[in-house]
């Protein structure tokens, strides 16, 4: 068992670690850390009022992911006081055992002599206990506050742990960019269907936000809108520096486009190579999704999108959005019979703390994402065939 204190720039961090613990011991050590933190507060008397907004439960399948998640959460500590449980599972171990590292990060607000504290509990759960995380998480939650579960890795084949986490969550956050393949979207959709009450957020959806914004800005409320019901070609390129052959981001964007403009995806069929066809009442939409090397972004992230629609008189209208040079820089080209325009936008960096923060402050139920996911499913299935 170890304990440490560090203090810098108005932040006090107290840590403790132990092995072979039960949840009651972990909870009592958290209380002790809080008492110690109260003793360190500038108010002297240590009137520790804890303000909490949420519980954050993080599932990590390895230490690196756990460390990265811890850093992301620490970045939120000052304005989203919470209790974070970061859980690393090692089911292959023989005996059930829980090891824990606890940290209380307390920020002092200048002039107020009051602390805002975040508690971070990193648990390593070994053996069969890893299959019963529910029994470990529930005792450690701050009562009656929303529970955000962040599943940081790919979705596992085995559904039990996932289902337990979903049942615990008010909001279940994944990053579909980390799924082993786009097929993970199918698993996610199945989970949504099996748990109608649950709300699901996807960090990958946040990465698409600038793309979606650009498309809405340029396509809706503009002259381009009148051509969009007749879109005939959709071309998407995504980064493939390490060999990615499909992109969850691309499927989600397609699902969102379908939802936005009323495309039917149920009859999607795979055509040659990377192409597929979406039969519509007014004619098929041809969809092409191609991988291509692109430095500075991760595999599966969008590189470019273009939509083409017939505009009458043998002419086309089109819009394309693409990264240009700097990965944070997007350029939009709109081509209409009446003329063309170009627009540039600088997107926000897609760092995890930023995307996580958006998940925390946004309404938990996101019907736009749910629709996009639902409509992406037939596309993923068609691409598998």
């Amino acid at each position: 068992m170890a304990q440490a204190l560090s203090a810098e720039d108005g932040e006090i961090t107290l840590t403790w670690s132990g092995t072979a613990l039960d949840t009651a011991r972990i909870e009592s050590e958290l209380v002790r850390l809080r008492r110690l933190a109260a003793g360190e507060s500038p108010a002297g008397e240590g009137f520790a009022i804890r303000t909490s907004l949420l519980n954050m439960v993080v599932h990590a399948d390895n230490r690196e992911r756990a460390r990265a998640a811890g850093q992301a959460i620490a970045g939120l500590a000052g304005h989203h006081p919470s209790r974070a449980l970061i859980i690393i599972t090692k089911p292959a171990s023989a005996a059930p055992r829980i090891d824990a590292r606890l940290a209380a990060h307390c920020h002092t607000t200048p002039g107020l002599e009051q602390q805002v504290c975040c508690e971070e509990v990193t648990l390593t759960v070994r053996g069969p206990a890893a299959g019963h995380l529910h029994s470990i998480i529930i005792p450690l939650l701050v009562p009656d506050l929303p529970v955000y579960v962040w599943w940081t890795g790919p979705l596992p084949r085995e559904r039990h742990a996932l289902q337990e986490m979903l049942e615990t969550a008010d909001h279940f956050i994944v990053d579909s960019a980390r799924f082993a393949s786009a097929n993970g979207l199918l698993k996610l959709a199945q989970l949504c269907e099996a748990n109608p009450g649950c709300s699901i957020g996807d960090l990958n959806w946040e990465r698409l936000e600038p793309w979606r914004e650009m498309l809405v800005r340029q396509c809706e409320g503009t002259s381009l809108r009148r051509y969009l019901p007749d879109v005939r070609d959709v071309k998407i390129a995504f980064a493939s520096n390490r060999g990615a052959q499909a992109s969850a981001q691309a499927f989600l964007l397609l699902g969102w486009l379908a939802s936005r403009w009323g495309w039917d995806t149920a009859g999607a069929i795979r055509a040659d190579g990377d192409a597929m066809s979406l039969p519509q009442d007014g004619g098929d939409i041809s969809v092409e999704m191609r991988p291509r090397p692109y430095a500075g972004v991760e595999d599966g992230w969008l590189v470019s999108l273009s939509l083409r629609c017939p505009a009458g008189g043998g002419r086309d209208a089109s819009i394309s959005v693409s990264r240009i040079g700097d990965p944070l820089h997007l350029v939009v080209h709109v081509q209409e019979p009446e003329g063309s325009l170009e627009d540039h936008a600088l997107t926000e960096p897609c760092d995890e703390p930023g995307m996580l923060l958006k998940q925390l402050v946004a309404p938990r139920h996101n019907p736009e994402y749910a629709d996009a996911l639902r409509l992406a499913v037939p596309l993923v299935e068609a691409a598998r065939r």
Partner: protein, 517 residues
């Protein structure tokens, strides 16, 4: 509790000096070799000694069947203190405390044993000057009470027919009966020897700091009492959740069940403290009068009403804190076909001007996911949902005021707040007052508080005979219905879950849900 009793005392000279002097006395513990004495009573007495809060010339006389000497009792007492005291043993204090410990070995029904006890008490009185004041602690099952009381009447100068120097008080441990009839009989037996004013029925919940703090919270603050009524309160939830199973108490528990073990005493005590009217004074009579009024106002359930307003359950094998745990019927000394309930949920109404139509939901159970005892008051929603069109309605949760009894004693308030930035987004936030972290002192144990009160002659935190009978009378209809109706298909909840489906259905029928703990 008398005036001047610190509600959060760390002991020490200043605290002790501020209190009125206690009269010298001898405390007799019947059942001195038992678990309660070992785990609770001796460590509590030692901590009182450490804080110099015991009466001068105080003596403890242990009485039990074990064939121990004074020295053996002292040796074992030291072990108890080393194992269970909240503070380490101080050798000097221990030596002085140990010199005040004595032991009488004997059967509870044997007149010779009682004669030996009387002789020892006389000797102690002479040597230490305890003035004939005796506090008897019955740390034994109620079946032994007639034997002990009979012995005291014959040899101890106790009872209406005796004139005695000094006072004689008795502390009685729960259970105070198994139903209304047995509680009345038990009261009758105790009253054969002791006046009601000298009877201290101990419910250790009432000795907890946070339980006492309910009274302070409600009646010392001006801001809560005006909204503490049916106009503002939607409902109240009282939860006593345990993650442990029955442990070594299998045979006792299997004959008792959760309703008798927890609801009839601890939970109804909490209910009465939450629902009581302000007493006219902070003394035993005034406070207990108001608590009894609440119990008399609780609507009794009978027949089919019981089915609609209660749920019972029994735990099956499951997982808690990452460990697989056995089902109730697999526990030691429990029948493999047991129909005893390990979970109870019920809805009660207090038919009073203040609480008419406000449901009080009570739930208790073993092998629930976590240990937690709390009272949660849910307030009615704002009458007009001003932000319903622009904010996430699912996040617009009702206000809760929660008093946590254990663990992490404290009070929290949940309210809605705007997330910084635009547009308007609303989130619930918890502002949490943590008792231990705020005062940075160690509170005395419940037994320290209660023993000290009994030594002082203050019965505020003890249960009166009419309270006990009123509480059993509330349970009578439920017990009758459960005994007559076929038991549910037990076991019906997995260890590590929040109880049977019937418990959820109970509150969902009213359009409500259990608080997530």
């Amino acid at each position: 509790m008398s005036a001047g009793t610190p509600l959060s005392a760390s002991g020490g000279p200043s605290a002790a000096a501020a209190e009125e002097a206690l009269e010298p006395c001898a405390m007799v513990i019947f059942g001195a070799s038992g678990d309660l004495t070992h785990r609770m009573l001796l460590p509590a007495l030692y901590n009182l000694a450490l804080d110099r809060r015991l009466p001068p010339r105080f003596a403890v006389v242990g009485f039990a069947r074990s064939d121990w000497t004074d020295d053996e009792f002292r040796r074992r007492a030291r072990q108890s203190v080393q194992q269970f005291s909240r503070r380490p043993v101080d050798d000097a204090v221990w030596e002085s405390f140990a010199n005040s410990l004595f032991f009488v070995s004997g059967e509870y029904h044997q007149p010779q044993a009682h004669a030996r006890l009387a002789a020892l008490l006389k000797k102690v009185e002479k040597e230490r000057g305890t003035g004939g004041n005796h506090l008897y602690y019955l740390a034994l099952p109620p079946t032994t009470f007639p034997l002990i009381i009979g012995g005291l009447q014959k040899t101890g100068g106790i009872g209406r027919d005796h004139q005695r120097d000094g006072w004689a008080r008795v502390i009685v441990e729960k259970p105070f009966g198994a139903d209304l009839e047995s509680a009345r009989e038990l009261n009758r037996q105790v009253h054969n020897a002791f006046r009601e004013d000298d009877v201290y029925r101990i419910d250790h919940y009432l000795g907890k700091e946070t339980v006492q703090n309910i009274l302070v919270f409600r009646f010392a603050n001006g801001i809560f009492e005006p909204i503490w009524n049916r106009r503002y309160v939607d409902h109240v939830q009282i939860t006593v959740a345990e993650s442990i199973g029955v442990g070594q108490r299998g045979s006792y528990y299997d004959a008792t069940g959760a309703l008798r073990d927890i609801v009839q005493n601890h939970m109804l005590q909490l209910l009465s403290l939450v629902a009581m009217e302000p007493p006219i004074a902070f003394n035993g009579r005034a406070v207990r009068n108001e608590k009894v009024k609440v119990l008399h106002a609780v609507r009794h359930l009978a027949g089919e009403e019981v089915d609609a307003a209660t749920a019972r359950g029994q735990y099956a094998r499951g997982w808690i804190s990452g460990q697989e745990v056995p089902g109730y019927r697999e526990e030691d000394n429990v029948s493999p076909h047991s129909a005893t309930e390990t979970f109870v949920a019920l809805r009660l109404f207090v038919d009073s001007w203040r609480w008419a139509d406000v449901p009080f939901y009570l739930r208790t159970g073993k092998r629930l996911p976590k240990r937690s005892t709390e009272i949660a008051v849910q307030f009615k929603r704002a009458p007009h949902l001003l932000f319903r069109d622009i904010a996430d309605v699912s996040a617009m949760e009702p206000n809760f005021l929660t008093i946590r009894i254990q663990p992490n004693e404290g009070i929290s308030i949940k309210f809605l707040t705007k997330v910084p930035g635009s547009p308007v987004r609303i989130r619930p936030a918890n502002m949490d007052f943590i008792y231990g972290a705020s005062f940075l002192v160690q509170a005395p144990s419940a037994y320290e508080t209660l023993i000290l009160d009994a030594l002082r002659g203050d019965a505020t935190l003890f249960t009166r005979a009419d309270e006990v009978e009123a509480a059993w009378s509330i349970m009578a209809g439920v017990l009758e219905r459960w005994q007559s109706a076929p038991p549910p298909a037990f076991p019906d909840y997995e260890a590590g879950t929040w109880g049977p489906a019937g418990a959820d259905a109970l509150v969902e029928r009213d359009g409500r849900e259990w608080r997530r703990l």
